[in-house]
């Protein structure tokens, strides 16, 4: 394809080259003065570790495994998320509750192991889509870094506590026994 070269006729002032340069210098000076007189909080650049950008409402960041108000996990270890995961980064091992599951209305299963390999995860939120119990969702945290690969494998308690401090919830390290029957989740 031929490229049409657009010939621009310069007038004598532009051809001196001095005048356009001066105009350009005025423009750069205007930028300079505007930027130097702007307060750091109003500039385009966000000084990252000091101030962080607020994430958009639909942002897909680090996962959280939701819990009920009494602290027990919402997940019923149905493996839907593990099946839906395109990156195959979710590992679940299920276990049964004790005698309590004989009572009508209680969950029968819960995950004994719920591992997400954060190095593999592509943050597509397919697990969130697939979950029938709304037990997993992707939230705002995007700062995941570590000095070794092993600590990038987030386990069940990591995932349940990822946003505990932020939400003002207690950090838990063991499954509390559910006290009341769970209502079915409205879809």
């Amino acid at each position: 394809m031929a490229v049409l070269v657009k010939k621009v006729e310069l007038n004598w002032l532009d051809r001196t080259y001095v005048w356009p340069v001066l105009m350009g210098m005025v423009i750069t000076m205007r930028h300079f003065i505007k930027q130097i007189t702007t307060r750091s909080s109003k500039r385009f650049t966000i000084p990252y570790p000091d101030r962080k950008r607020a994430t958009a409402p639909g942002y897909r960041g680090l996962h959280e495994l939701k819990r009920f108000p009494d602290g027990s996990i919402k997940c019923v270890a149905c493996f839907m998320c593990a099946e839906a995961c395109p990156a195959r980064c979710i590992t679940i091992e299920s276990e049964e509750y004790g005698d309590i599951n004989k009572t009508q209305g209680f969950q029968e299963k819960r995950p004994a192991v719920f591992k997400i390999d954060m190095l593999r995860c592509i943050y597509c939120a397919m697990c969130e889509e697939a979950c029938p119990k709304d037990a997993i969702w992707l939230r705002t945290d995007y700062e995941q870094a570590s000095y070794d690969r092993l600590s990038m494998k987030f386990g069940k308690w990591d995932l349940m506590n990822t946003y505990a401090d932020q939400d003002g919830k207690a950090r838990i390290t063991s499954d509390p026994t559910p006290t009341v029957p769970r209502p079915p989740v409205d879809e």
């Binding site: 001095v18 340069v21 350009g24 210098m25 423009i27 750069t28 000076m29 930028h31 300079f32 505007k34 930027q35 130097i36 750091s40 500039r43 385009f44 650049t45 000084p47």
Partner: protein, 350 residues
């Protein structure tokens, strides 16, 4: 000053000379170091960025990013000093020195303030006293020597990019020195001498920039070529030949090359101030006091250093053939025409 000199068992002249050596050596060096900061922060502001501001002094004070200078200095000293195996060892070591020494020398003849007399002695505020026989020819000659540092660095690196940069630098120097010389010649003709003190004395009524505006433009443009700055940074040419003549340089050797570039900016600004903007003269003050004259010189000097940075971040770089065109077909005729014009005006008695 007499008492200070006698305290050190020195003649006042000797003492003053030592003081001047310190001023002339450390002053431009400090300014050049500050220019690296000014360049990075200034260019950032021009481009709506922020620039380096993370380095902290003692982990606490940010000071507008100035600790970055110290951090860079420490880094340059502590980095591994890498010499390519195929580089010419001796010349590779010599090149940064060859670039640095002329850059430091250039400032020696510039008067940075009014001369004053005390106790029967006249003290001049320039390292080389007036009437030394070299005058303004000295910084121009030193500036021409500076290209050897670049050429040596380029040849000794044994690198394609380096050699390209060095060749370009030499060609650029040839095509601009003549126009620059002609522009300065017009000033010598008008002044009737080439001593910086004479040139400044001749600018007491009006600064040279007004009657010699064409000469100023030619000289100013040539100074950009002389300092190897954008828009004429063909020796470095980082957008096409990696880093040009200092591609293979690292650690303190690179720092010396870089520092000499900034020293050239300081010297070039000092030359512009002396030749065209009245040196230490203050507008509307006939005979300024010594501190005022020094302050005026420093203000002008810093302003023109800033103009070098300002222009660099305004204009895109030239193509090499455009530079040649500009040098030979625009600058040279303009310089010649300016010289003829001034000669004609003098003949008319204007």
């Amino acid at each position: 000053m007499e008492s200070l000199a006698s305290l050190l068992h020195l003649m006042p002249e000797t003492f003053w000379m030592i003081v001047k050596v310190f001023i002339v050596f450390l002053g431009p060096l400090t300014l050049a170091a500050l220019l690296t900061w000014g360049e990075r922060r200034g260019s950032a502001m021009i481009q709506d960025r922020i620039g380096p501001n993370r380095a902290l002094l003692f982990g606490r004070w940010r000071l507008l990013g100035l600790p970055q200078l110290a951090a860079d200095g420490i880094k340059f000293f502590l980095k591994e000093d890498l010499v390519p195996t195929d580089a010419s060892g001796m010349l590779f070591w010599l090149a940064p020195v060859l670039a640095f020494v002329p850059a430091v020398l250039g400032f020696a003849v510039i008067p940075f303030g009014r001369s004053f007399s005390q106790g029967g002695h006249v003290f001049h505020l320039s390292l080389l006293d007036p009437g030394n026989g070299m005058g303004m020819l000295y910084p121009l000659a030193i500036g021409a020597v500076a290209v050897y540092g670049i050429l040596t660095a380029a040849w000794s690196s044994n690198n394609k990019w380096s050699i390209l940069g060095g060749m370009r630098s030499a060609a650029q120097m040839v095509s601009y020195e003549i126009a620059m010389g002609l522009a300065v010649l017009a000033i010598f003709v008008r002044t009737g001498g080439y001593d910086p003190q004479q040139i400044i004395a001749a600018q007491s009524g009006m600064w040279n920039v007004l009657p010699q505006i064409i000469g100023f433009l030619v000289f100013f443009t040539c100074m950009f070529a002389e300092t190897n700055r954008l828009p004429f940074d063909f020796a470095e040419g980082e957008s096409e030949i990696v880093a040009g003549f200092h591609t293979e340089y690292g650690s303190m050797k690179f720092a010396l090359l870089q520092l000499s570039e900034y020293l050239h900016i300081v010297t070039a600004a000092a030359l512009i101030v002396t030749l065209y903007f009245g040196g230490w003269r203050v507008p509307f003050v006939a005979e300024p006091s010594v501190p005022l004259s020094v302050a005026a010189f420093v203000v002008k000097l810093v302003f023109f250093c800033w103009v070098f940075i300002w222009v660099r971040w305004t204009i895109p770089r030239f193509r090499f053939d455009q530079l040649m065109f500009l040098g030979w077909k625009v600058m040279l005729p303009l310089g010649l025409g300016n010289l003829l014009l001034q000669a004609w005006l003098m003949h008319r008695g204007a």
